[in-house]
């Protein structure tokens, strides 16, 4: 009964348009329901930037090296917001679409997948603000910008990987839903977003970069802002751990997916 891996991939390919339509639905509905529409994609990281700049930048006097603190925080918050939003929406995507899961067959992985795809639009919108900030602060990227595509792929991999795990667990254990916001908050502070990596002693960094967000988000920021602190070993470690998380998430999802319709 369980289709082999090649069959599964073939089927995924067959249903590729459904991924688009589900993502399109998520985006359309969100923008139809929210009065501010696309502005939310910008407001979230911008508000974060203002708050963190006030409390950490001004009050606590956090140093951010050669980069002004507001843009430093924003460049980290934009990819982080993508990660956190995808976790939130994709993690609830199966139970939120239980009517689909119990009534129609399609590769279930499309549900968290569509949330991740829909999030990319917000990421693109919030990145445009980053562009404006870069113009304002007159910051140009350097050669490390070439890393950006790989880093974005890594960001999507880790987001989808963790989401598949959460979405599948959520079907069986509704506790996950309540644990997720807390976990996301913890994760934020384990990732160099409001503080620079230099705040952490060098000997701890290889260990911390096992957190895929560590190397990927710091890498995205350094690549975009042309910072001298691009940490290649940390980026590579994080990309590797993102891939591992993706594979683990996918395998767990595939093993759990047979019982989704019965348990949900």
């Amino acid at each position: 009964m369980t289709p082999s891996r090649t069959e599964w991939l073939k089927e995924l390919w067959h249903y590729r348009e459904l991924l688009y339509f589900l993502a399109w639905r998520d985006v359309t509905i969100r923008y139809k329901q929210a009065a501010l529409g696309a502005a939310w994609a910008i407001l979230q990281p911008v508000m974060g930037m203002i708050i963190f700049t006030l409390f950490f930048g001004r009050l606590a006097g956090m140093q951010s090296g050669d980069i002004p603190y507001p843009i430093f925080v924003y460049a980290g918050l934009a990819p982080w917001t993508y990660f956190a939003t995808v976790l939130n929406t994709a993690g609830n995507s199966l139970i939120g679409n239980s009517n689909l899961v119990t009534k129609v067959y399609f590769p279930r992985v499309l549900l968290p997948g569509a949330s991740a795809a829909a999030g990319l639009l917000d990421l693109a919108i919030s990145s445009s603000v980053l562009l404006l900030l870069m113009l304002y602060y007159r910051i140009a990227p350097g050669w490390t910008l070439l890393w950006l595509p790989v880093l974005i792929v890594g960001l999507v991999l880790v987001s989808v990987g963790v989401s598949m795990l959460f979405a599948a667990l959520n079907v069986r254990y509704r506790d996950i839903k309540h644990a997720m916001p807390f976990l996301i908050q913890m994760w934020l502070f384990c990732t160099p977003i409001v503080y620079p990596t230099s705040l952490v002693p060098e000997r701890f960094r290889p260990l911390l970069s096992l957190n895929p967000c560590w190397g990927i988000i710091d890498g995205i920021r350094s690549a975009l802002l042309g910072s001298s602190t691009f940490d290649t070993p940390a980026v590579l470690t994080s990309l590797a751990s993102a891939s591992v998380i993706f594979v683990v998430g996918l395998l767990y999802f595939r093993s759990a997916e047979r019982s989704f319709a019965d348990v949900i």
Partner: protein, 417 residues
């Protein structure tokens, strides 16, 4: 395996654990794992198992239209879910050749905020259609559902009838090799139901393999050459539709065509000591059609779980807008059954004169003891009343004249008298 077979089901079982909290809490899972470790498995767990399918085997040839009947909980829907890979069998094998479409619900995944057009694309792609196919079919879908004026209106403004029509129209334009349909004809007004039936027939004639579940037995008879009767998760009978329906109906202790199987209707209330099993509309003189002004018999079959006294019955007629027009009951006539023994029974209500204008009406039925509902089925069956030439003028009593038809005559009087 010959390549003429579209579907092969080999000894399939499906087990459900009853009473299990559907959404396990993590705490319970941890406690459960610990108790399993310490060897203290909960004994109660094992006793509550339901075999929704219990060794089902069947083969369906390519191009065959197969009917599936059975009482509520017989496993019909579970079988369709297993066939369409929504759920997996506990044991056994299922092989389905070709592209599969399943229609277990009309309008799955419709979203209120999206327009009709947007929902066509969304629902179509959920059902497995390609965007190109939808582009090609959209005009026909809109035409079929008759919603062209509202195509760009959010469907939250649609009436429930419009939603149903749209949902069915999309599914009717699915071009899969195999199609599973679960009880979707029970929706919409009479005209649309006819359209659905004929489109279902076309689906079958197009060389497509169809499995069709319905409690509307005349639809099954109309559409399917072969029928399978499922009972308690097993194939009870498999053969030509007429034969299978005959034995299926015989199991209710009644016969003939316009008979509604009420056992599979889930929406009902009452204590259930007496349960309605079928409702049969019997037009006069062996006619198949009910006309305005006809005499009409409605026959209820019921089953008592134990000996009951003072059993009351009622039949309600609702308009197609849900207004209760009238109720014929044993309370008003003082004709309660003094005693009804355990087991099946039948009772007729004979209506002298069906004073209703032509149109679609809905019948409800109930059975009650002295002060307690035993079984109330609000939507038991549909009643089509056709125009009649009551006055012999060839001018018919027609729907545009209202709902109630009063037999009348006009008497001119001269001004002087």
């Amino acid at each position: 395996m010959s390549n003429q077979q579209a579907i092969v089901v080999d000894n399939v079982t499906k087990r459900y654990q009853l009473g299990e909290t559907r959404h396990t809490m993590l705490r319970e899972a941890v406690v459960g794992a610990l108790s399993r470790l310490t060897g203290k498995a909960r004994a109660a767990e094992e006793g509550r198992i339901l075999w929704a399918l219990n060794g089902v085997s069947l083969e369906v040839q390519r191009g065959e239209v197969l009917g599936l009947v059975g009482r509520n909980g017989a496993g019909k829907s579970t079988l369709l879910k297993v066939l369409s890979r929504i759920t997996y069998p506990t044991s056994g094998h299922v092989t389905v050749h070709g592209r599969v479409g399943s229609l277990l619900e009309v309008g799955t995944g419709f979203h209120d905020e999206l327009s009709g057009r947007e929902n066509i694309y969304l629902n179509g792609s959920i059902l497995g259609m390609k965007r190109q196919e939808i582009d090609r079919e959209i005009d026909r879908i809109v035409d079929f559902a008759d919603i062209s004026e509202f195509l760009d209106t959010p469907i939250k403004r649609y009436s429930s009838g419009m939603r149903m029509r749209l949902g069915f129209a999309i599914a009717a334009h699915l071009s899969t090799d195999v199609l599973f349909v679960d009880e979707v004809l029970a929706v919409g007004d009479a005209g649309f139901q006819k359209k659905c039936l004929s489109s279902m027939r076309e689906l079958g004639q197009g060389g497509r393999t169809v499995i069709f579940v319905s409690h509307n037995l005349s639809a099954i008879e109309n559409l399917c050459s072969r029928t399978i009767w499922l009972s308690d998760g097993q194939v009870k009978e498999d053969g030509p539709t007429k034969d299978v329906l005959r034995s299926y109906l015989a199991s209710f202790g009644a016969g003939t065509a316009d008979l509604m199987d009420l056992t599979s209707i889930a929406e009902r209330k009452g204590s259930g000591l007496a349960k309605l099993t079928t409702l049969q509309v019997i037009p006069p003189d062996g006619d198949k059609i009910v006309h305005s002004g006809d005499a009409l018999t409605i026959r209820l079959s019921y089953e008592c779980a134990k000996d009951l006294t003072n059993l009351h019955f009622g039949v309600r007629i609702h308009s197609n807008l849900g207004l209760m027009i009238t109720e014929a009951n044993t309370w008003a006539t003082g004709q309660a059954l003094p005693s009804a023994p355990a087991g099946p029974g039948q009772i007729d209500v004979q209506i002298d004169n069906l004073n209703l204008m032509p149109g679609t009406y809905y019948l409800g039925a109930w059975v009650a003891t002295y002060n307690e509902w035993q079984d109330l089925v609000e939507h038991a069956a549909k009643l089509e009343i056709e125009a009649s030439d009551f006055y012999g003028t060839g001018r018919g009593v027609e729907a545009r004249f209202g709902v109630i038809f009063l037999p009348y005559r006009w008497v001119p009087r001269s001004a002087s008298s």
